[in-house]
């Protein structure tokens, strides 16, 4: 080889469990995509609100303040479990990963229980009227994403617990926390819109 300028990268590791990993960046972008869908749903909520005189429609029960607000506690706490697992992944701490993921999953399931209570307390569905449509759409999309990620996290837990904890599963655990932070974080404005929106911008007859 003729040129004298060579850059020897043999000492560089063949993986990185950090925010410098391409997979981490890819996951961020997927969260941006999903986040823009949620932002548009919020915009649609207010667009529909501006198109009518009475909001919510008479007789519609808005999502319960108590169940929705209490539910925020396990939700935010589940993010801690995710953080614990993610940090353990960076340090190659198998026990920490398992405990963190398990905590994350347990609290997520508790949150889903509250979600079920809130949702089943509604007295309208997606076909009742435009208000019902947008409320159910927001709840459905968020729940769908939550359940999907929950299942993924479960698979990761099984893989790590079964003993395969090389760089790939570790990176998976680290990057999965990004999704979880996103799902927790995006729920906060959605919660505000669904629970407090009618009380702030609503008009009754």
């Amino acid at each position: 080889m003729t040129p004298s300028n060579t850059l020897d990268v043999a000492a560089l590791p063949p993986y990185s469990i950090s925010s410098k990993a391409p997979l981490w960046w890819g996951q961020i972008l997927l969260c941006v995509i999903e986040g823009s869908m949620f932002c548009m749903l919020i915009a649609i909520y207010f667009y529909l609100r501006l198109g009518v005189d009475v909001w919510p429609p008479p007789g519609a029960r808005t999502p319960g303040v108590a169940t929705s607000s209490i539910a925020l506690v396990p939700l935010l706490a589940s993010a801690l479990g995710s953080y614990w697992a993610s940090e353990a992944a960076k340090k190659d701490d198998r026990r920490g990963m398992i405990l963190g993921l398990a905590l994350n999953l347990a609290l997520a399931c508790l949150f889903l229980l509250f979600r079920y209570l809130t949702w089943s307390g509604l007295n309208f569905n997606w076909a009742s009227n435009a208000y019902g449509t947008i409320v159910w759409s927001i709840l459905f999309l968020h729940t769908f994403d939550l359940v999907a990620d929950l299942l993924f996290t479960l698979v990761l837990l099984v893989i790590v617990a079964a003993g395969r904890s090389g760089p790939k599963p570790r990176l998976g655990v680290h990057v999965d926390s990004v999704v979880w932070y996103f799902l927790v974080g995006i729920w906060l404005p959605l919660y505000a819109v669904l629970v407090w929106g009618p009380r702030v911008v609503g008009v009754s007859q």
Partner: protein, 634 residues
């Protein structure tokens, strides 16, 4: 030959090279073909598939032109005509224009950045399969009697359950889910590739203009495509199938909501098509003027500004709905001011042409054609931004003329220029310059003959989307000219295809860099070996092949027995770690098949979404399942 850097000619030990060949080869047979994850193969699949859809869309256009050639013509009845113009628009916008640009990006970006593959090779494969399945969904449905007929944009309430019964619009809406998933996969992987996988020392201000184009376009896809998914799948399809009330005014919905969400996507969509083409123009102009493009920082800023401003224009598609005055003034202003971003680039290209040493290849012919046609279309766009005038020509053939000028001039001509320019790189042979120039002239003449009269037809009151017109409105002559022009375009297309097919077999063999160009793709072999470069380059300037070899370098120390690429920092491309990329995998195809089954079923019943999710999840688990631990010793 002082400038030709010696490091380009990578003299590499035979054992190294053959090890790289083995590592990067795809498996054989059908199974191997279905498991491919190398970017050149997938990029070429996108391009070829998109080209087939271009031909289908072209046939649809010829059918429309035949029907409109004479007043009161009886070739196509209203239902068939409405289906055909819907299929034409849908095919060109969703199945040709965006995928072909993505294909060019997927093929060229890793080569231009000095790396070996995109950051997510299996996602790349998955995205292609989703695109193919979406196109098959639409065309199989159309050929078996279920074609959409509400326009490529499917306005409600016409596209709603009451006025478009049957499954045609449902097929249209769900096809969009496929193509948008595909676009988002490519956008995600290109952004990460451009930021993280560049050759060392290729700082952001050294990346080729085409890569800037793909970067801006990819970000636009990230923000715009979710809107069309919402409009088509969440708003329209659900209103049609499960009784939601997004656009149903009787229960608090609003038909205009659909338009807002659709055009929030729809306007950026045309720039998503057009911005990669601008990158191609820069690449061609640079290579064939023998100098770097003038005003690189201004060019980059213009592209980025174009990307941003494009999101603030969408209401100009809705001027006729009656808007508050403040909104009217704002959207007029924004729609005109975006002209600045294109104008600056045009001025910079002209400056480059003036001070370069021009080589008038077939590719450059297409660049000049682009300048003529696109600038004309851009100027009619300025006219359309003016509301009083727009209210006269909106939804007439004047608009049809405008957007064909900017899309064909602004995207298709640069694309064809790109095909001629990169043909040696793709195939290893030179394309016939004579035939290329002939194809250009036929296409240029045919295009102008077809679409220029449409400006006049619009001013004379001919509205869009009409299957016939009466004789006494005197629209017949211009329509006939347009039809003749359309067939001339078809002849030009045939000449181009014949040229490609002939030159692939009989063209002169091309070496690495037949054009003496400056960017890294010309350092790889023609066609590139699957690993692109035996050693990742270390670059010393914006045009590595025009930089003296003392300022360049090579990366050593990477393993050749697995597919390794180098991950570098986002701004300055300092090496950070190596990344082991997967080899061939059948899981992207399996995942796509699972999702396709579920998504097609969801047209009939909502619960099939759950099946789609389940099958998709199984696919992703198989995809990511850790088989062998990555050997961590370097």
């Amino acid at each position: 030959m002082s400038i030709r850097t010696r490091w380009q000619i990578q003299v590499v030990a035979e054992t190294e090279r053959s090890e790289l060949y083995r590592t990067w080869s795809d498996g054989g047979g059908l199974f191997g073909w279905l498991s491919v994850t190398t970017h050149q193969a997938i990029g070429m699949r996108y391009i070829v598939t998109a080209f087939i859809f271009l031909l289908l869309g072209g046939v649809e256009a010829l059918a429309m032109r035949l029907q409109l050639a004479r007043p009161e013509n009886g070739l196509l009845g209203p239902d068939r005509y409405n289906q055909i113009f819907t299929m034409h628009g849908t095919t060109m916008m969703f199945l040709f224009a965006v995928p072909v640009m993505e294909g060019m990006g997927v093929y060229l970006v890793p080569l231009m950045l000095g790396t070996r593959n995109v950051a997510f090779p299996r996602l790349n494969a998955f995205g292609y399969w989703m695109y193919l399945f979406g196109g098959l969904l639409l065309y199989i449905s159309a050929f078996t009697g279920t074609a959409p007929a509400a326009g490529w944009f499917s306005y409600t309430p016409l596209s709603g359950p009451q006025y478009s019964p049957g499954k045609g619009v449902d097929v249209w809406a769900q096809m969009i889910t496929f193509t948008e998933i595909s676009a988002m996969c490519v956008a995600t992987e290109l952004i990460v590739t451009i930021f993280k996988l560049r050759a060392p020392r290729m700082s952001l201000n050294r990346i080729p203009m085409f890569c800037w184009g793909m970067l801006v376009q990819s970000f636009m896809v990230i923000f715009a495509m979710p809107a069309v998914m919402l409009a088509s799948t969440v708003l329209l399809l659900n209103d049609r199938t499960i009784g939601t009330h997004f656009v149903n005014p009787a229960e608090g919905g609003d038909p205009l909501l659909y338009q807002h969400i659709f055009w929030f996507f729809g306007h950026p969509e045309v720039y998503i098509i057009f911005i990669p083409a601008l990158g191609m123009v820069s690449a061609i102009v640079e290579a064939h003027s023998r100098r770097g493009v003038f005003g690189y920082p201004a060019m980059v800023l213009s592209l980025v500004a174009n990307g941003f401003i494009a999101f603030g224009l969408w209401v100009h598609h809705m001027f006729a709905t009656g808007l508050p005055q403040v909104a009217e003034a704002y959207f007029t202003a924004a729609s005109m001011m975006i002209g600045i971003t294109s104008a600056v680039q045009i001025f910079c290209w002209i400056a480059t042409l003036w001070t370069g040493r021009l080589r008038l290849t077939a590719a450059m012919h297409f660049v000049f054609g682009f300048l003529f046609i696109f600038v004309l279309g851009g100027l009619t766009g300025i006219m359309l931004a003016s509301i009083p005038f727009d209210l006269q020509v909106h939804d007439t053939f004047f608009v049809v003329a405008h957007f064909h000028y900017v899309l064909i001039g602004g995207a298709l001509f640069p694309l064809f220029g790109g095909f001629h320019h990169w043909f040696p790189k793709f195939t290893g042979r030179m394309i016939s310059e004579k035939a290329g120039k002939a194809a250009f002239w036929i296409l240029f003449a045919g295009f102008n003959l077809t679409f220029f009269p449409m400006h006049i037809l619009g001013l004379k009151g001919m509205t869009r989307r009409i299957y016939t017109y009466p004789a006494d409105l005197q629209w017949g002559a211009d329509n006939l000219l347009a039809t003749i022009g359309a067939f001339i375009i078809a002849i030009g297309g045939i000449v181009f295809i014949a040229n490609v097919l002939w030159s692939r077999k009989h063209g002169a063999r091309a070496d690495n860099d037949p054009w003496n160009a400056g960017t890294l793709e010309w350092a790889a072999a023609s066609p590139p070996e699957k690993f692109n470069f035996a050693h990742i380059p270390v670059v010393g300037g914006r045009y590595p092949l025009w930089t003296p070899s003392e300022q360049q370098g090579l990366v050593v120390g990477m393993r050749n027995d697995r597919r390794e690429v180098l991950v570098t920092s986002a701004m300055d491309a300092e090496p950070h770690h190596r990344l082991v990329l997967p080899r061939s995998s059948i899981w992207p195809l399996l995942t796509a098949i699972g999702l396709a089954i579920g998504l097609v079923g969801s047209i009939f019943a909502f619960s099939w979404y759950y099946l789609a999710a389940a099958l998709g999840m199984i696919g992703f688990i198989g995809w990511f399942w850790p088989h062998k631990p990555v050997e961590v010793r370097p």
